[in-house]
């Protein structure tokens, strides 16, 4: 157990544990936000694991999750539009905090990687992670009103 796996354990236990509790209890707006944040927290955890196990190929897992996590949230945002319109989620503080955590993890892993093609790959994963997180959160709070067709 080195520092990276300890950080990954903490991120999983606290972050993803909180989202598992949040998706199982409470009103719909809390559950949807919890599902969104579960993928945005699992992706930095996978980056930390790839560094902790010293296997750069695990970054591909983080890349796929950074791409598909927001897609899953957008599926829910589109197909639960009527239920969410009455009671939209408004948790921008939490979203920005999770995005900042993701950015911190990406910077830490980039520093450990050193200047190489792997660094650019990590930066691409980080951009997808934060961009996807913010896009999915905006879609959940009803920001893309033009795509709604009653």
């Amino acid at each position: 157990m080195n520092g990276w796996t300890v950080a990954a354990t903490a991120a999983l236990a606290v972050g993803v544990g909180a989202t598992v509790w949040g998706v199982a209890t409470g009103p719909l707006r809390r559950r949807v936000v919890a599902q969104n944040l579960s993928t945005s927290l699992a992706c930095p955890a996978l980056l930390l694991l790839s560094e902790g196990y010293d296997r750069p190929s695990y970054v591909d897992l983080a890349l796929l999750l950074a791409l598909l996590g927001p897609v899953g949230t957008l599926v829910f945002a589109r197909l639960l539009v009527e239920d969410l319109a009455a009671d939209p989620p408004r948790t921008w503080g939490l979203t920005y905090a999770v995005a900042a955590f993701g950015a911190a993890v990406v910077i830490a892993v980039c520093v450990a990687a050193g200047p190489s093609r792997a660094l650019v790959k990590l930066l691409v994963v980080g951009a997808l992670l934060i961009g996807g997180n913010l896009t999915a959160s905006r879609a959940l709070s009803g920001g893309f009103a033009g795509s709604r067709r009653g």
Partner: protein
């Protein structure tokens, strides 16, 4: 204006091809000849798909 539109289309496909090939180059772990061949062909196919998608959406 057929010649101008084909020239613009070819330039756009070339730009997409360069971007996707660069992305492939960043994502693979070891750069050798086979990877370069596969990467450029896949990027070419992807460039055509992206060009067609952009023309279908026509919102960019």
């Amino acid at each position: 204006m057929n010649r101008r539109t084909t020239l613009l289309g070819a330039a756009e496909i070339l730009a997409w091809w360069a971007a996707l090939a660069l992305l492939w180059l960043v994502f693979i772990s070891a750069v050798d000849a086979l990877e370069l061949v596969v990467g450029t062909s896949a990027a070419l196919v992807g460039a055509f798909a992206a060009w067609g998608t952009r023309r279908a959406v026509s919102g960019w």
